[in-house]
């Protein structure tokens, strides 16, 4: 065994905040061999990113390494000064950040930015550095590098920007790459391309890498060894296969259970010991023959003012209590469709029938007065942005009751709000808090409580768990599933996460560039996709089963 490239020993990092010192990393020990790719997995607040920042000495001012050692190439860099760090950064270790668009300078051509990184460490002329930049752009497989070298970040897609970031990171052939959630926010297919590229480059150039991610499947797919962190401590370290089949630590067990796979069901999302039996609902009584569909969307389209087409010719139907998934990459029009159905924006053409009544004719600006407003409700993507910062949780949930059911403040309102909170599992004492005093999962619950407060018949869910940690996602999905069964709600579930859609939805519609590519019964659709596009989507999802195959 060769000497490790990086050794972290009992690392402790503290942050000074308004409420005193906070320990973000509490004694992490790990080591990395040259050329190895290590997965550092954990949920938000686990200290995984802070660990990465501490290794590269990029902690912000409030953070401080309070204890432990970091040895890089056998040399202690724990207290390295700024001159040493300039040597280290870029040349010996490089970092790839989560949001590539924010990490690139928006007013400088990408070729120049790569050349800047090269010139910081090597004594060559700028034209030579530019040539080098061109080579790097080729290495990260950017098409037409000769033209793109002069492009600005806003002219490139998110995936392209991340490739440029990778080009900058590898420009001086560092021995260690630290990738902090490099593909979060990218579409699955882009994520796969970028991660494949990153893994290939690291392997070809013999670079070691630390992949910091919240996605167990992703880490399992690309790393030989995975380290799991919880609340600043390292709880488990193992090969992916062992981790998934014989997780030792209770937290890892929970995490593994909560990560949806191609075969998991909603009720599987918690470990065996903690499973609650699902509410047994007597077989859904089929509506008598002749009952209109809950939702019948006929050839709706949306053209925007600038002439572009967001959605073209979209049709779908939904029975009472049915759950339909809408999947597609960013820009596929899935959010536009969900907002048209929710009657927040007007379609340019087509018809929307709700329970047999044409609601597409009512302009969106007047729909708030419609009797159907309370029947169609929506849960928004980012719980952090979907609650009014000036409303307490109580006010948020009470809002639709006051407006749509005409309740007055008083005991009756309080009782109803508390009922809603109970149904979504939100402790009553949290009702008086403002959104910023709640956790992500609690905010998600408030958003759901608000949407079900008026007992709607159709619930549009716009990526309801995209911004949540997997363990919170698991709980929220179970909650949604239970509510659907209890109230016989129709779900329109918009998501880019195929595994989630497969679990939650009876039928799925695959969208691309505003058009339906394929639709059908969820399990069949994903098991046996009929179009190349769907197949590409399905293949791009990092599955744990695939990791097994890769290692077998």
């Amino acid at each position: 065994m060769t000497a490790p490239l990086l050794e972290v020993e009992d690392l402790k990092v503290t942050f000074s905040t308004r409420r005193g010192l906070v320990e973000a990393v509490r004694g992490v020990t790990l080591s990395l061999q040259p050329g190895e790719m290590l997965g550092l997995v954990g949920e938000s607040g686990s200290g995984k990113s802070v660990t990465g920042f501490a290794i590269t000495h990029l902690l912000d001012k409030a953070g401080r390494i309070a204890g432990g050692r970091i040895r890089f190439r056998g040399q202690d860099i724990t207290g390295a000064g700024s001159a040493d760090l300039r040597q280290l950064h870029g040349a010996a270790m490089a970092m790839i950040f989560q949001n590539p668009r924010a990490a690139l300078n928006p007013i400088r051509a990408i070729g120049e930015q790569i050349a800047d990184a090269i010139l910081a460490h090597r004594r060559i002329s700028r034209p030579e550095a530019r040539d080098e930049a061109l080579k790097l752009l080729r290495a990260v497989q950017i098409r037409d590098p000769e033209q793109r070298v002069k492009a600005y970040p806003h002219e490139l897609s998110g995936g392209m920007c991340q490739r440029v970031m990778i080009a900058i990171a590898i420009s001086c052939n560092p021995q260690l790459l630290i990738a902090d959630e490099p593909t979060t926010g990218l579409d699955v297919t882009t994520q796969k391309v970028v991660m494949d590229l990153l893994a290939d480059i690291a392997a070809a150039r013999g670079m070691a890498a630390i992949l910091i991610t919240h996605d167990l499947g992703l880490a399992a797919r690309y790393c030989r060894r995975v380290v799991v962190m919880e609340q600043g401590s390292l709880v488990e370290e193992a090969e992916p296969l062992t981790l998934f089949h014989r997780p030792q630590h209770p937290y890892t067990k929970r995490l593994v259970a909560a990560s949806p796979t191609a075969t998991s069901r909603v009720e599987d999302l918690v470990p065996d010991g903690e499973r609650v039996p699902l509410v047994q609902v007597s077989a859904l009584s089929l509506p008598p023959h002749g009952t209109p569909l809950l939702l019948d969307v006929k050839q709706i389209a949306k053209r925007f003012d600038d002439g572009t087409t967001g959605v073209a010719d979209f049709s779908m139907t939904m029975r009472h209590g049915e759950s339909i998934g809408l999947v597609g990459e960013s820009g596929s029009g899935k959010s536009t469709i969900s907002r048209m159905i929710c009657r927040l924006i007007d379609p340019s053409a087509g018809e929307i029938l709700f329970d047999g009544r044409a609601i597409g004719q009512i302009p969106a600006r007047d729909f708030h007065r419609s009797e159907f407003r309370k029947d169609i409700q929506i849960v928004f993507q980012d719980p952090n942005e979907s609650l009014n910062p000036r409303y307490t949780a109580f006010d948020c949930i009470a809002h639709p009751l006051l407006r749509l059911l005409g309740l007055r403040s008083g005991d009756r309102l309080r009782r109803q709000v508390e009922d809603c909170a109970d149904r979504v599992g939100l402790p009553r004492e949290l009702l008086s808090r403002f959104p910023h005093q709640l956790s992500g999962g609690q905010k998600a619950r408030v958003g759901i409580a608000r949407a079900i407060a008026c007992k709607p018949r159709l619930l549009v869910l716009d990526e309801p768990t995209a911004a949540l940690d997997v363990s919170v996602q698991a709980v929220v999905l179970q909650l949604l599933n239970r509510l659907r069964r209890e109230d016989n709600l129709g779900f329109l579930f918009v998501s880019h996460d195929l595994n989630v859609v497969r679990m939650m939805c009876d039928r799925t519609i695959v969208l691309r560039a505003g058009q339906i590519v394929e639709q059908g019964e969820s399990r069949a659709l994903f098991a046996n996709p009929q179009t190349d596009y769907t197949r590409e989507l399905v293949d791009a999802v990092p599955h744990i089963q695939r990791a097994e195959l890769a290692l077998a």
């Binding site: 929710c342 007065r369 009014n388 000036r390």
Partner: protein, 286 residues
């Protein structure tokens, strides 16, 4: 519910002020100014317009704390009574331009389209004028009465509120909670007025506080050049203007005291701005 809110607001205010003594001082100053303005007639030791020529141009003494002017009027009493007029002009003007400007701006920022373009160009035109000259022209045209000074000051402040509210609303209009409010049965107009505007209020409060100081200066400036309040009404600008004639003969108190009053009022409101934002923003509470 509201009782809990009120006490937590008080506690939060106290917390912000403790951490930020400059704001606390500014807030005290603003409070004193407000009290003086309200209680002026009872606080002033002398009649501010009764002249007493034998006592003219006395330096500050135990009898006349800020001395007397060329007609023997007590400068201290005039200062106190002037506070009421100056603050009234400034507060009314700022309130009017805030009320009109923020609503117009918020509607433009939310709706966009033709209205936004039209209002945007109107604001550009308004801001192309030197604002003080514009105010002078308006007062000259409308006649120099107090209400016209208020109108002129309000109009020249309008563009700032329109632009500010427009920008602040524009960045928020696509957030989830705005759409959620619509799904909860609110109309577009209600969303703007009852949801977006209260949320941009903390940021606007800073602007208002800064503007208040500016409006005081503006009113005093108009009086100084003779386009504002007419003598013998006590007003800080007029007092400075009248006193300026006696500076060369060493009667400094005629200018120094009203000048100091002006400066401290403006300073108070400027310093108050930042602290105000911290107090009003619910996200700052923990």
């Amino acid at each position: 519910m509201s009782a809990i809110d009120a006490s937590s607001t008080l506690r939060h205010t106290a917390f912000v002020l403790r951490g930020n003594p400059v704001t606390a001082v500014a807030a005290c100053g603003a409070l004193v100014l407000a009290l003086v303005a309200i209680l002026a007639p009872w606080l002033a030791p002398y009649d501010p317009i009764a002249s007493d020529v034998p006592q003219a141009l006395q330096p500050p003494s135990a009898l006349h704390w800020a001395g007397t002017d060329q007609l023997g009027r007590d400068v201290f009493s005039r200062l106190i009574v002037a506070t009421r007029l100056d603050l009234t002009i400034a507060v009314t003007a700022v309130a009017v331009s805030f009320a009109i400007g923020s609503v117009i701006g918020a509607l433009c920022g939310y709706g966009g389209g033709k209205l936004d373009k039209a209002v945007g160009r109107f604001v550009d035109v308004l801001m192309a004028f030197p604002l003080f000259v514009l105010a002078m022209a308006m007062v000259a045209a409308l006649g120099n009465r107090v209400e016209n000074i208020v109108i002129a000051t309000a109009i020249i402040n309008l563009p700032f509120y329109i632009r500010f509210a427009r920008a602040e609303v524009n960045i928020r209009r696509n957030l989830g909670w705005v759409e959620a409010a619509r799904a909860c049965g609110e109309s577009h107009v209600a969303v703007v007025l009852r949801f977006l505007l209260p949320n941009v209020l903390p940021a606007m409060a800073v602007q208002m506080s800064l503007n208040l100081g500016w409006a005081i200066l503006n009113a005093a400036g108009l009086s100084f050049i003779g386009l504002g309040v007419k003598p013998p009404t006590p007003e800080w600008g007029i007092m400075v203007a009248e006193g300026a004639r006696f500076i060369s003969t060493g009667r400094w108190w005629l200018v120094a005291f009203p000048g100091f009053a002006l400066m401290s009022a403006v300073l108070c409101f400027n310093l108050l701005g930042d602290g105000l934002r911290d107090i009003l923003d619910p996200r700052m509470r923990t």
